[in-house]
Subunit: 241 residues, 2 copies
DNA sequence: TTCCACACGTGAAAC
DNA sequence: TGTTTCACGTGTGGA
């Protein structure tokens, strides 16, 4: 039995060579062989299903690792561990870069929150912030993509303007009840609103709200607005955090 | 011998439970045990080194996978394959995002060269851009930093909104004659202005202008506004381009 | 030769 | 129940 396993193993590896033309790739892309043993194993009976299952699992894992290698540039060593390591470093690199760019854009828009750029997704700008915040952001992302919600948020910016004033500027699709729901959101937050303004244009609603608040309240305010909109779009979801 | 292995295995897993307090994490973070078998295995001699080597290799791999899970948000399942899958999707997500942001900054930079951010290098983000553009950017940068100009432009965005309408949104410092000079600029450009609005706040002027124009005119309009402001600030310089 | 990385089969545990 | 996932020891082939 061991002899047969060995032969099968060699057969498999040899075929991998032929398939990938590179011995360094020998541990990936053998999904086509997953059904081989399966068809020739009505003899084993007992644990042969476990064998093929395990083999499929390993193949899947290697396939994933292969795919991971594909999306990460500058992979020096083809090592399994090295691939994961490079992927980690690459993600961290992207995080840093994102943080930099976020600071850049933050500064760019700090003086002028109510600019309109419809094809830009704002919540992708929050990179390595607090995990809870990120989670909430993702919930928001899911919620805003539900096309039947009254508020489809396209952009949200909260900027401190100095003199204890925060400017909230948001863009959303113009739908039925959007305007009233939007007002309800800001009503519910019990803010000290100095002045507010809504412009309707080109199927979009642009709302600008000047709020009396401290600079430290900026982030909290943004979170509160986001969660309020999410809760309004999807009252069933437990967005209590 | 198998019996002993089994016992050791159970011992290890039990300790993992105690260590991680969660059975889902049972396959990670056992680096502390890597030296255990090593010290108690002068008896085997032959292949026991291979055993401990293989164990170390597995531990390293699991550790890496654990670290990978840490840098990827939204990991739903703790599955090995799922972790890699989520990592792949996350990297692809970041790639898309990067592309978007690069386009965004491209637009920002081409439309608003007089932004101030000394500690960020645009050249890192824009690899093969035209050099002439960059040169012109520097010229404009010099012009805006003359603190005695009536218009110190802080931000300028020109966006096509659909329905033959372009929205110009700009921010500048509030100084003497800024408002009238700003109006003169837009007067001089002979545009089909639908509506315009200026908000003065916190030492800044925020001006929004809706202009009837085609989408193709967007970039040209942006340049015209920039050059008009520059020419207004420094009438002596030959900013005819 | 040793070292390293891998695929394999196997039993157990979790869902 | 069975299916899935895991760690383990082992043998193999390439540096």
């Amino acid at each position: 039995m061991e002899k047969m396993d060995e032969e099968y193993k060699h057969f498999l590896e040899t075929n991998m060579f032929l398939q990938t033309q590179e011995h360094l790739d020998s541990w990936g892309l053998d999904e086509a062989f997953s059904g081989y043993y399966d068809s020739s194993s009505p003899d084993g009976g007992a644990s042969s299903k476990n064998i093929v299952s395990e083999r499929n699992r390993r193949n899947k894992l290697n396939q994933r690792l292969f795919a991971l290698r594909a999306v990460v540039p500058n992979i020096s060593k083809m090592d399994k561990a090295s691939i994961i390591k490079d992927a980690i470093e690459y993600i961290q690199h992207l995080h840093e870069q994102e943080k930099k760019i976020e600071a850049e854009i933050m500064e760019l828009q700090s003086g002028m929150p109510n600019n309109i750029n419809p094809n830009y997704d704002f919540d992708q700008e929050l990179p390595v912030l607090l995990r809870s915040k990120k989670k909430r952001t993702d919930q928001l992302y899911d919620s805003l993509n539900s096309t039947n919600s009254p508020i489809e948020l396209l952009e949200l910016r909260v900027t401190y303007m100095g003199e204890n004033t925060i400017v909230v500027s948001l863009t959303c699709s113009k739908r039925t009840d959007t305007m009233v729901k939007l007002c309800e959101v800001f009503e519910s937050l019990n803010l000290k609103i100095i002045t507010a303004n809504i412009i309707c244009f080109s199927g979009k609603l642009l709302k600008t709200v000047f709020i009396q608040a401290n600079e430290e309240d900026k982030d909290l305010l943004q979170i509160k607005i986001q969660t309020a909109i999410v809760a309004l779009n999807d009252p069933l979801s437990p967005t209590s955090i």
